[in-house]
């Protein structure tokens, strides 16, 4: 964020061509708000604004954002059937937003969404890290 504000890096919005949606990870948003009194809701959205001409929010969002289903270590506990099942709501939510790309700043969410999109018939969905779209949109000197 600091880099973009100080113009240490420059961004070309036209490089992001797919309609993106942003997902708040439970730990960065809701739980940070509850534990530390500040949830990172606005900061990533500001970065989204810098990187894409147009992007959408999912509904519900921020404190009420739907869980991707991959948190709490469920990616590694072996309860895969359940984990895939939890993700159905997330995928429905992304489908409803009309987005072709979902941007997340969390490794668990990233892994989970990539893992389940096929089961829920949304294989064409592109899952990107927040920093990945920054890197994608960089103007290189």
């Amino acid at each position: 964020m600091k880099y973009i504000k100080e113009e240490r890096i420059k961004i070309d919005k036209s490089k992001i061509t797919k309609l993106a949606a942003y997902h708040d990870p439970c730990n960065y948003g809701r739980k940070a708000q509850m534990l530390f009194g500040h949830g990172y809701f606005q900061e990533p959205r500001w970065i989204m604004d810098q990187c894409a001409e147009e992007w959408v929010d999912l509904y519900p969002m921020e404190m009420n954002q739907t869980c991707c289903g991959g948190g709490g270590g469920t990616l590694t506990t072996g309860n895969d059937e359940e984990r895939v099942y939890y993700g159905r709501k997330k995928i429905d939510q992304i489908k409803a937003s009309g987005a072709e790309m979902i941007v997340v700043p969390c490794h668990s969410c990233h892994g989970q969404l990539n893992n389940i999109k096929k089961e829920h018939g949304f294989e064409e969905l592109e899952v990107k890290y927040l920093w990945e779209i920054v890197a994608d949109a960089l103007i290189l000197k």
Binding site: Y3, R8, I9, C26, R30, K31, Q33, M34, M63, N64, T66, C67, C68, G69, G70, G71, G72, G73, T74, T76, T77, G78, N79, E82, R83, Y85, Y86, K89, P105, C106, H107, G111, Y129, W131, E132, V134, A135, D136, L138, L140, K141
Partner: protein, 235 residues
């Protein structure tokens, strides 16, 4: 077995067994808002309200032995919606911590043990780690505009120290490149530690506070030893 045989005599339970837990579980009004918010509700007959109720009645052992705390995604929606401000996700974590360590499902505890021993969840030796990083750096350097890109490991006095998620040096090495490219474009002075570089802290998931402290402590040590000014911990 008949229905009556399965009946538990309620006044034989020790309702005080969990009363020292400071999560307000006794204030539950069984409204069920948490259950309606929970992504896991309905699976294996689980819902957060039941779990809170069981803890409040003192049915600790049943909760610890069940799969429920482990199928929870710890997303915290239950807690965010609770009108009585019961710390439901802390309860889940507490119950996870009460499970015998070798009964912790999946690779969570094994990975954590490996990390405590070797510095990362994979048990990846230092040489292999450095090799992978440099390999990825070379790949970046082959791209236009990144010709002179290098990764400086264990550099002292760097502005930013970054940790690495184990999957990025395992199956997803390409995903290492995004941050590095941003650093490069911004002309950032950055580094990666060669040992104990693991950013993921599975103590959070297994409810193991000691391990969590140790893992975080290592990162603090890095900051001190390498004299880095800022930490990037993208977990």
């Amino acid at each position: 077995m008949t229905e009556a045989d399965k009946r538990v005599n309620l006044d034989q339970l020790d309702h005080d067994s969990c009363r020292s837990w400071d999560y307000s579980q006794d204030f539950c009004v069984t409204c069920g808002i948490c259950s309606s918010m929970c992504p896991v509700s309905g699976i294996d007959d689980f819902d957060p309200r039941k779990l809170v109720r069981m803890i409040s009645l003192g049915m600790e052992n049943e909760a610890v032995d069940s799969r429920w705390p482990w199928i929870c995604t710890m997303c915290g929606k239950c807690e965010a919606s609770c009108p009585m401000e019961i710390k439901i996700s802390s309860i889940v974590r507490k119950i996870r911590s009460l499970r015998e360590r070798d009964e912790v499902p999946g690779i969570l505890h094994k990975g954590l043990e490996t990390a405590l021993k070797t510095g990362n969840n994979l048990g990846l030796p230092k040489e292999d780690f450095e090799f992978i990083l440099e390999d990825v750096a070379e790949e970046i350097a082959e791209e236009p505009s990144f010709e002179n890109f290098t990764v400086e490991i264990d550099k002292k006095g760097a502005n930013i120290l970054t940790t690495i998620h184990n999957k990025l040096v395992n199956t997803h090495t390409d995903d290492l490149k995004h941050w590095w490219k941003i650093f490069h474009a911004a002309g950032e002075d950055w580094t990666v530690p060669s040992e104990n570089w693991e950013g993921t802290n599975w103590g959070l998931f297994t409810g193991d506070d000691e391990a969590m402290k140790k893992m975080s402590g290592r990162i603090v040590d890095h900051m001190k030893n390498l004299g880095a000014k800022n930490l990037l911990w993208p977990e």
